[in-house]
């Protein structure tokens, strides 16, 4: 039996990515990174800013997300997110732009702890992209 399952990433504008030969997906879940293999139990979780790693036969892919929800059910992984970029498409200047935005957000004083935490996460992840 194959060890592959299907992953679908959708953002509000379109279906971003559909792949059905995926062997493992690592998502930055809210309470820490989470690797999902085939026949994982049904789960719903949140994403925090981070990198989604998709490992498949046809090559590995990395995506940067800022938020989202993952749902895994019957070997179908759906990732709903509003902001997603393929790491291969992010060049230096794009990354700097994102970093600047995130830093601005993190330095705001009038935000609550949770958004502060998320913004800090963003900054951290974006810095590691260098």
């Amino acid at each position: 039996m194959s060890e592959e399952f299907k992953v679908e990433i959708v953002n509000p504008e379109k279906s971003f990515l559909v792949k059905d030969d995926v062997s493992e997906v690592v998502v930055p879940a809210f309470e820490g990174e989470m690797g999902i293999l085939k026949d994982h139990i049904s789960i719903i979780s949140f994403l925090k800013p981070g990198i989604i790693k998709i490992l498949s036969k046809s090559g590995d892919e990395n995506y940067y997300v800022e938020d989202g929800i993952v749902e895994f059910k019957n070997n179908n992984l759906s990732i709903l997110t509003s902001t997603i970029f393929n790491l291969a498409d992010i060049d230096k200047s794009k990354q700097q732009d994102l970093l600047k935005l995130a830093e601005e957000e993190a330095n705001k004083t009038d935000i609550n702890d949770q958004s502060k935490y998320l913004a800090d996460q963003k900054v951290e992840v974006l810095k590691t992209l260098n």
Binding site: P12, K14, L80
Partner: protein, 290 residues
């Protein structure tokens, strides 16, 4: 009867109107294809979102303490209506259909003695509503600058709605938009987004989910997002409907202009012929009398 000169002028003016409507039809057709595509592409997201929320709300253990966005405030005194229309006219019954639907809903609410608040999205709806319900409109948003419906705009509206909800300004929120069915049919919709209406959608799958963090926390994060998503969906449907409606309206206008040109041309030819005949008769009868 109009003189030959007048007829000529009218034919020319109708012809130039026809040219404009024809061009508008072409533009609408091109835009429609794009809008329709993005409306269709946007559907999976909102459907999936709905699914997740459905699963979550089924899994929630403590219904009493469910987030207010899901279960409501427990009363239905103040209604907020978000009426989504276009920013441009000349699109047939598109805006009037939404307004008609909204107005009948408003009348019902006011009849029941409830309070009504309106947010208009798009300037056309505001124009039509402010005459009767001007004092009820609390906010008027227009995205004239954005070319296409985008999530960022929808999120702005969504955040505003949630802010007002958290401030206790309303209990029930309904959005009005046109659902795109095909080019000639758009169905005006009233969709209740707060509290979330899941009736009739009893989920059959008894599958249990693992949640991380727990259900309540996920729900309270997810529901605001869902509001924006639903508004975004409505915006996409609306923009596709607008173009579709405009296309068929302009198609009709072009056809009517064509008919009018034909009619006027016949009239023009007749009166020209009549003038010639009249002159001939005058000459002949003049010659005969000699």
């Amino acid at each position: 009867m109009a003189s030959l000169d007048d007829l000529k002028k009218r034919i020319a003016s109708v012809k130039s109107t026809q040219k404009i409507t024809k061009a508008m039809k072409m533009v609408a057709a091109a835009k429609l294809r794009r809008a329709q595509e993005s409306a269709e592409k946007g559907r999976p997201y909102s459907e999936k979102m709905n699914n997740v929320i459905l699963n979550l709300s089924n899994g929630i253990s403590d219904k009493e303490n469910a987030p207010k966005l899901l279960s409501g405030t427990g009363q239905e005194k103040t209604h907020l209506c978000v009426v989504m229309t276009s920013d441009r006219g000349l699109c047939g019954g598109f805006n009037s259909n939404i307004i008609k639907k909204a107005k009948s809903y408003f009348a019902k609410i006011l009849d029941e003695g409830k309070e009504l608040k309106i947010i208009t999205v798009g300037s056309k709806g505001n124009d039509q509503l402010k005459r009767v319900y001007g004092d009820k409109i609390i906010e008027n948003i227009s995205f004239k600058e954005s070319k296409n419906a985008n999530y960022f705009d929808a999120d702005k509206v969504g955040k505003m709605v949630i802010e007002k909800f958290e401030a206790g300004e309303f209990d029930v929120c309904t959005i009005f938009y046109n659902q795109f069915k095909n080019v000639i049919t758009q169905i005006p919709q009233a969709q209740q987004i707060i509290p979330l209406n899941n009736e009739g959608e009893e989920n059959s799958s008894e599958e249990s989910y693992e949640f991380e963090p727990d259900e309540d926390e996920i729900l309270s994060n997810l529901l605001p997002k869902n509001i924006s998503t639903q508004i975004f969906k409505a915006m996409l449907e609306n923009s596709a409907s607008e173009q579709g409606s405009r296309m068929s309206a302009m198609d009709n206008a072009t056809r009517n202009a064509g008919e009018m040109v034909d009619k006027l041309t016949i009239e023009y030819n007749r009166s020209r012929q009549a003038a010639i005949t009249k002159e001939l008769i005058e000459i002949i009868s003049g010659a005969e009398s000699l």
